[in-house]
């Protein structure tokens, strides 16, 4: 059973089916509505004549700032080209040059132009291609189903319980293997660039089952976000094509080829110095802008009321993607039998302390396929799962108990708003001990308020009040774990920046931060980085 219908989940399901397993996919939104469409700019693959898996691996290691697992990086770099070519074969209409060959963009700290792209809609199109192949494989789809718990029997994951939003009924799904592919968690930050449902439900399910979460403190902030409305992200591809970041009207120096976190730091610094920071795309030219970035131009117009061909766009760094997540092996296996994870919810040592720009979609297809194959192999060898019959009833009762029409002034939305502002302020691009401790205390208070909340919508069908409640629970748990992890890492490395420990400390810092739920609370530990 695959949980989550984005790029990684779809790829895992297809691979598992092709490996001979009986597969089903469950997703709380339809696969064509997932956060995968957020990945606009491109997808990395070392296909150029001037490129190689070695060069690619080198760039990944550099962006990972010392925490990458070199074996994972090497394996990934060798597999990436084929994985992306598979997407091409299956129908992705990558932009091509006059010679009919792939055109490539150069993102962030990539040493070469290696991102294939589809206009400024790469994720949106790749998502469609994956969904098409998913349909072709004839895999049953349960869209608008929300997984409420993992079912564990004798330390083995044997399935899930899930709420069908359309029918309003709960069901149990027994499975020899469960693959979590539920995406990121940065909706715990407000503002954030991500979809409403990017609330880390998969990570929370694993965490509550005692599975460790790795490198949670590593959160990538996207530098080019228009903060108005719901925060509109602008692809870094615009920088690759001539766009400039200006502070007080002057371009900020030394940003070409910089990593995402370095750009965020520069913007944050400029903002702290009191300058108004903006993105200037006017030099790209109206015609080129409209041709190369049609969606960007359209959304800036509709969301921000700005004309990207004439106006400069106010920007600030905004929480974007997690680098860390559910601890897994290179094959996507978690420490719990029968439980796998892939995509943005998982952490297998590839990205270390920072993800190379343009890698997110490549990861989804490489490790999505790997997890699917591994889960299929596991399922083949595993015994039939014994789904405890009473679990479904217990879960139904648990959810029923959440519903109450008693008056309550507090709401999930209010708690979420406070959590979001807190995380943005205290666990943002730059952190410090006092802020993180204050965040921890505050989250504790928010969790107490959450415990007193009730779901007030009693109707069963499409009860998004209940969904919002459950999602908030995920975010609170993960936020707590994140600030604990951030407090534990007393250095600055990759995406984790501390003003009280501004330097990298290779004496103590070369280890993964691992957070496990122990008696209901996050406990931080370290895990050695696997040397080559």
């Amino acid at each position: 059973m695959v949980v989550g219908g984005g790029a990684a989940g779809l790829r895992a399901a297809i691979a598992a089916k092709q490996a001979g397993a009986k597969v089903a996919l469950l997703s709380k939104v339809h696969p064509l509505r997932t956060n995968t469409a957020l990945a606009q700019g491109g997808i990395n693959a070392p296909l150029g004549a001037d490129d190689s898996p070695e060069a690619y691996a080198g760039d990944i290691l550099a962006a990972g700032d010392g925490l990458c697992d070199p074996a994972v990086v090497q394996s990934f770099a060798l597999a990436a080209a084929d994985a992306v070519m598979w997407l091409e074969r299956m129908g992705t209409p990558f932009n091509r040059g006059a010679d009919g060959r792939f055109d490539r963009r150069r993102f962030g700290s990539n040493s070469r132009a290696r991102s294939l792209y589809v206009d400024d809609r790469t994720g949106h199109v790749v998502m469609q291609v994956l969904y098409e192949q998913f349909q072709r494989a004839g895999i049953p789809l349960f869209a608008d189903w929300f997984v409420t718990s993992l079912v564990i029997d004798s330390a083995r994951c044997v399935g899930v319980t899930a709420l069908g939003l359309r029918s309003g009924t709960m069901d149990g799904f027994a499975a020899r293997a469960v693959i979590l592919a539920t995406g990121g968690f940065t909706r715990m930050y407000l503002p954030s660039t991500v979809s409403m449902g990017t609330t880390g439900d998969g990570q929370n399910l694993a965490y509550q089952a005692g599975v460790p979460l790795m490198n949670l403190e590593m959160v990538q902030f996207h530098p080019l976000v228009y903060p108005g409305g719901n925060a509109l992200m602008i692809s870094e591809a615009v920088l690759a094509e001539g766009g400039q970041i200006v502070a007080g009207g002057q371009p900020i120096a030394n940003l070409a080829g910089a990593t995402r976190d370095k750009i965020c730091m520069a913007i944050q610094q400029a903002a702290r110095d009191g300058a108004a920071v903006a993105l200037d795309l006017t030099m790209i030219g109206g015609q080129r802008l409209r041709a190369r970035f049609p969606q960007t131009v359209e959304l800036l117009r509709t969301v921000a009321g700005l004309d990207a061909t004439k106006d400069s766009i106010p920007i600030r760094p905004v929480a974007h993607r997690p680098v860390g997540g559910i601890e897994t092996t290179i094959a996507g296996q978690t420490p719990m039998h029968g439980l796998f994870a892939c995509g943005e919810c998982a952490c297998n040592g590839l990205n270390g302390a920072g993800r190379l720009a343009g890698n997110i979609l490549t990861e989804a297809v490489v490790f999505g396929a790997r997890a699917g194959e591994a889960a299929a192999a596991y399922a083949k060898a595993a015994s039939a799962p014994s789904f405890p019959a009473e679990r479904l009833e217990e879960e139904k009762k648990r959810l029923e108990a959440l519903v109450s029409t008693d008056k309550c002034e507090d709401t999930a939305g209010h708690i979420h708003a406070e959590l979001g502002a807190l995380m943005d302020r205290n666990a943002g691009a730059i952190r410090d001990a006092a802020g993180l401790q204050a965040a921890r205390d505050r989250i504790h208070a928010l969790k107490e308020r959450y415990a007193r909340l009730r779901v007030r919508n009693q109707s069963a069908i499409y009860n998004y009040d209940l969904v919002a409640y459950l999602e908030l629970g995920s975010m609170l748990n993960l936020a707590e774990a994140l600030v604990v992890a951030a407090a534990a890492r007393k250095e600055s490395r990759g995406a984790h920046r501390r003003s009280d420990f501004p330097a990298r400390d290779d004496r103590t810092g070369i280890s993964h931060t691992v957070v496990t739920m122990v008696q209901g609370a996050p406990q931080a530990d370290t895990r050695a980085v696997v040397a080559l």
Binding site: L32, G197, N230
Partner: protein, 319 residues
Amino acid sequence: MQAKFSVYRKEPGAHSKPGRSTYTVELADDATVMDALLKIRDEQDPTLGFRGSCLHGYCGDCTVRVNGKAAFSCTARVAPLAAKGGEIAVEPIRNMPVVKDLISDWDAFLWEKIDSTKPWMEPKDADGAAEPQIDDKLMARVRQAMSCNYCGLCDEGCTVLPVDFKFVGPAALTKASRFLFDPRDQATAERLRILERPKGMWDCVHCFEASEHCPREIAPTERIVEMRDEAFKRGITNEKVARHHLSFAASVKRSGWLDEGRLAIESEGLTNVSGLMKLLPTAAKAIARGKAPIPYLHPKRPGADRIARIIEKAEAKEK
């Protein structure tokens, strides 16, 4: 700012009657309709049902009608609407079945229809490792069709669906059309054969409502017409439609204009006795009123030969 909303409500179930709920809500100046709905559900009415995902206008999940105009609730800004005073009306997209409140039944009118068209690539070269060279102009046309975010507006505007809900609809047809330009696909002929069946592409009346409704300039109507032209070129079309087209073209070639009587007969087929019999009542009435063009005795227009030459040339070129 303060804004007042009048939102369409409907309980699930075929027999529940729709109604309205009004809400007054305090919002930030740059708030969207989605922000308003979220706040209403959170603070005032937890039973309010609406959809949403990406929050930035690109996933197509939150399509609604705001004051009668199609919009994504997540990008529709409240300020200009509230400035007009009065209530802001929010409704689900029209003509489509509603599950609850603003939640349309996407399965019934979109996902299932798309599923029925074999909407996936069957690659000619599944295992090749070499980078293929493909003209980007072809890829650009594929990209155009794939910029669709399944917002459902073309299906909403369709004039056929309200009369025949089994029609596969412009969204599904547009998606299918993207394979026409893709040289990597080997299932185009098969797909066209699926789509030329009843309720498929020949049920489209090319009224251009789909194109007028599409917010992304994909021009679904034009895509469907292209697909039909392609099907026709390959000889993949249902027999009656094929007879109709061939008779039409033959008539214009012969005389420069349309012999309607002959067209009616030849569309049914000269040996299709039952089909021809069905024409009799209308034909009889028409004859009685003096408005039946006499088939076969159809005067040739001047210039018919020149016109025939052009048609023959065009047909030869397309081959």
